[in-house]
């Protein structure tokens, strides 16, 4: 249809209903005004392109960003590093806090001792909720934390806002902070530090049955705005277990209760939940973390035995549904040995452990890996890694 035909049709409309003339004139006049404004904008843009001012403007912006990056590198003493390797903030002398939290969203925050082994305190009363022991996470006191719930919901919290409980005392869950109460039918799955979000590329979710899903952190604004990340599970019986931030080229390790270790290249992970390990009916994931190549890996059994492996021992699985490396021989499994935690460790870091009596103790990692045991004598429920200063925290 030509434009003249259209004009003919508009005229016919006016002939049929003369009152339409006013509406047609108003709509055409509005269009003319819009077009003339746009014409002026295009002319201005054309002039800016022709005389080079637009190019200069972008060059200035790039130069300004490069200057800011140099300043940041000098500030953190990392002139040789590339952008993803930079810490999110300049390091400051901040104390480390240990968070002890349960599925009901209750969180204790205790000041982790500065160095060496220490007794931090004891949880009085019931330890488990829904057969899940409390989990431990050590992180700097000025850190921001992300709370991940079993429904796929997320929330944020500033660690410094949590009240401190006194070291060495017995703590009741009733006294613990409840910063974001789980909704009906929902449990708090894990808490992770997330100040490194701007320099991370992916959120990686791991479920109890070994489903893995990654999500680009470029969607973080939408995720945090909607307070929803998704469960990252496939089957109805499966439950979300861990969430981690990871950069491009990173590795993901996860360990199961029956001592299977699986390494995965994060870049190769799917954006949809995918089962990545073939587990026996009774097995489930008990730890998931993103180690660096130089990290040591430790694996802890329910009776406090510690297995130590070099970071290079972690081989990325090639098969989409691997069985993972066995950490202990089958006869040890038949004897009832099970794993309760695993983590990546760096020099100077310590291990916090919660035992079945509710006691939380901190151990020197070097001593523990040397002796091969935590030496508590009791059952261990959870572990966490206490960073040497305000380094990357960890927990399992």
């Amino acid at each position: 249809m030509t434009f003249s035909d259209k004009i003919e049709e508009w005229i016919k409309e006016v002939e049929a209903r003369p009152e339409s003339a006013l509406t047609l004139m108003r709509l055409i006049a509005n269009r003319l005004r819009d077009l003339s404004e746009r014409d002026e904008q295009l002319l201005a843009e054309n002039i800016a392109l022709q005389n080079g001012t637009r190019v200069e403007e972008y060059q200035k912006r790039i130069a300004h960003l490069e200057y800011q990056l140099d300043l940041l590198k000098r500030h953190v003493g990392a002139e040789g590093l590339t952008l993803p390797d930079l810490p999110a903030e300049a390091e400051r002398a901040v104390s480390a806090s240990l968070l002890v939290y349960n599925g009901q969203g209750r969180i204790f925050r205790v000041e982790a001792a500065t160095d060496g082994a220490a007794k931090l305190g004891r949880i009085a009363g019931s330890l488990s909720t829904d057969h899940e022991p409390p989990r431990l996470l050590a992180l700097p006191s000025n850190e921001e934390a992300l709370l991940f719930f079993s429904s796929g919901r997320v929330g944020t919290l500033s660690v410094g806002d949590l009240p401190l409980v006194e070291t060495g005392n017995a703590w009741e869950w009733d006294q613990a902070a409840l910063p974001d109460e789980p909704r009906p039918g929902e449990t708090l799955v894990c808490v992770i530090p997330f100040s490194r979000l701007p320099v991370s590329e992916y959120f990686v979710q791991v479920s109890r049955r070994g489903c893995v899903k990654k999500t680009m952190t470029s969607l973080a604004q939408s995720i945090l705005g909607n307070r929803y990340l998704g469960k990252g599970t496939l089957g109805k019986s499966d439950q979300p277990f861990e969430l981690a931030l990871c950069g491009r080229g990173g590795r993901l390790a996860f360990v199961t209760c029956e001592g299977r270790l699986l390494g995965l290249d994060v870049d190769g992970l799917s954006y949809t939940a995918e089962e990545r390990i073939r587990l026996s009916a009774t097995d489930f994931v008990i730890a998931a973390f993103t180690p660096r190549p130089e990290d040591a890996l430790i694996f802890i059994t329910q009776n406090g035995k510690v297995l130590h492996r070099e970071g290079q021992a972690l081989e990325p699985a090639k098969s989409p549904s691997a069985r993972g490396q066995a950490l202990i021989p089958a006869n040890r499994l038949e004897q009832g040995i099970r794993f309760i935690g695993a983590a990546a460790l760096r020099d100077g870091e310590r291990i916090a452990a919660l035992d079945a009596s509710g006691a939380i103790n901190v151990y020197d990692a070097g001593a523990v890996t040397g002796s091969g045991t935590l030496g508590t004598g009791g059952l261990i429920l959870s572990i966490g890694v206490v960073p040497s200063q305000s380094g990357t925290p960890g927990g399992a």
């Binding site: 049709e9 006016v14 055409i28 680009m216 799917s270 954006y271």
Partner: protein
């Protein structure tokens, strides 16, 4: 006794109502909508299979899709057996899937029930049949109604068109699918009432003396007509009923086919059959969102590079790859609605690489849908003949449903029956109200 409600599962809009014997209460099931008693029949399913309905679904769709990234991966879809004269081999079939797609928005769930060719759709890893989609929507609508009422709803009177389909077999199958979906959604007791008869029951509340009435229920998916005797609840009589699957969505399609395709390169992509196919798929609300594959993008880019209507094909690319389909259909529908009260309106869509502007007058719209007017008039007169009544014996013509306010059809009714007999009922809620009355009796 368990609570029983009337539920109008409409093609474009739905509603729920209860009747206490004296007064019908339409439930505000969509507080975010301009009319909270009316809820859009749209369903949004996220990648994690969270389902949302109504305005909440629309908002979530926009929030998740505006400016989003795409990443296509090749996925194995199945295999086909290829037979030749002396050979047979099996070939794998792969499809490109956007693994960053956050969710799917589904409209016209009721139309899907009556389309024989529509077997359902794959949403991420799961296949949803038309029944599954209806069940998901009805379950959420039921939950919302229960929240409003503060008690469990176990029984429902569901509206259904006079004819889901011209084929009796497909009509029976559509009703069975809807019945099963309602049971799966949690309604223990389900019965049906024809939508025009439900609208008549609502109108009867306003009638003082018995009347012969034509109900002209013209919604988003079908036209339903009933000729009835109303006014005395003990002596109601349905003289005849009829219907045809012409309605609002057909008019939207006519507008797109006749006025919009030229903006996307129609008639200018001669040597590019793949591009031509994409253009022809624009009016199909089910097909357009599926066009966003890397292969199609490649074909579009090649045509643009070759100088084939570059501005229009860029607009087509933007329509497909910037997830503008839903916005586009909404704009077309909004223009159609505006023409019920205005002599002219504008259909416009502005986004990256797209600047669509079409001045559209009522005269043009009426010319574009004139063939539907003839079909509608024929069904109306056939139904009237079947009732044994003359137009002069009809006391009132009650029009309901969104499409019934299109002036072309109002004029037709006035021409046949006389303007003074044509009465407007509540466009979107009279069927739900009538179903609630039926549920109580």
């Amino acid at each position: 006794m368990s609570l029983k409600v009337g539920l109008d599962f409409g093609t474009s809009n739905s509603g729920v109502a209860v009747y206490d014997g004296t007064r019908v209460r339409l439930l505000p099931v969509d507080p975010k909508n301009v009319l909270p008693e009316v809820i859009k029949t749209v369903l949004y399913i996220t990648r994690d299979y969270r389902a949302l309905i109504g305005q909440e679904a629309v908002e979530a769709y926009y929030r998740d899709h505006v400016g989003r990234r795409r990443h296509f991966v090749k996925q194995w879809a199945g295999e086909i057996d290829v037979y030749g004269a002396d050979m047979h081999y099996v070939r794998d079939i792969f499809v490109y899937v956007d693994e960053l797609k956050p969710g799917r928005l589904l409209q016209y769930l009721k139309t899907a029930l009556r389309k024989e060719s529509y077997q359902g759709t794959r949403i991420f890893e799961r296949h949803f049949t038309p029944g599954d989609l209806a069940e998901t929507y009805l379950a959420l609508l039921k939950r919302r109604a229960e929240e409003v009422l503060g008690e469990r709803i176990e029984a429902v009177t569901l509206g259904r068109p006079v004819k889901f389909s011209e084929s009796p077999e497909q009509d029976r199958r559509a009703e069975e699918t809807l019945l099963a979906a309602a049971h799966e959604a949690g309604f223990k007791q389900v019965d049906f009432e024809l939508e025009p008869i439900a609208a008549a029951l609502d109108y009867e509340q306003t009638v003082a003396a018995p009347q012969n009435v034509v109900i002209f229920d013209f919604g988003g998916g079908t036209l339903d007509i009933a000729v009835m005797r109303l006014g005395d609840p003990r002596r109601r009589e349905v003289f005849a009923s009829g219907g045809v699957d012409i309605a609002g969505s057909d008019f939207d399609r006519a507008i797109i086919e006749k006025r919009m395709l030229a903006h996307f390169g129609h008639g200018q992509a001669g040597q590019h059959p793949q591009v031509r196919e994409m253009i022809h798929a624009i009016p199909d609300w089910m097909a357009l969102p599926e066009l966003g594959t890397p292969i199609n993008r490649n074909a579009l880019e090649k045509a643009i590079q070759a100088g084939v209507a570059p501005v229009r094909l860029k607009a087509l690319e933007s329509l497909i790859y910037n997830d503008l389909a839903f916005t586009f259909y909404n704009r077309v529908e909004a223009a159609k609605i505006a023409l019920s009260s205005e002599g002219a309106t504008v259909i416009s869509l502005e986004d990256k690489d797209i600047a669509l502007w079409e001045l559209y007058a009522r005269h043009q719209f009426e010319a574009d849908i004139h063939h539907y007017l003839l079909a509608v008039e024929k069904v109306l007169l056939d139904t009237l003949t079947a009732s044994g009544l003359d137009p002069a014996e009809i006391d009132a013509v009650v029009k309901t449903g969104g499409s019934s306010s299109i002036p072309l059809f109002t004029s037709m009714l006035a021409r046949i029956f006389g303007a003074e007999k044509v009465k407007a009922s509540s466009q979107f809620s009279s069927v739900a109200a009538g179903l609630a009355i039926r549920a109580r009796t």
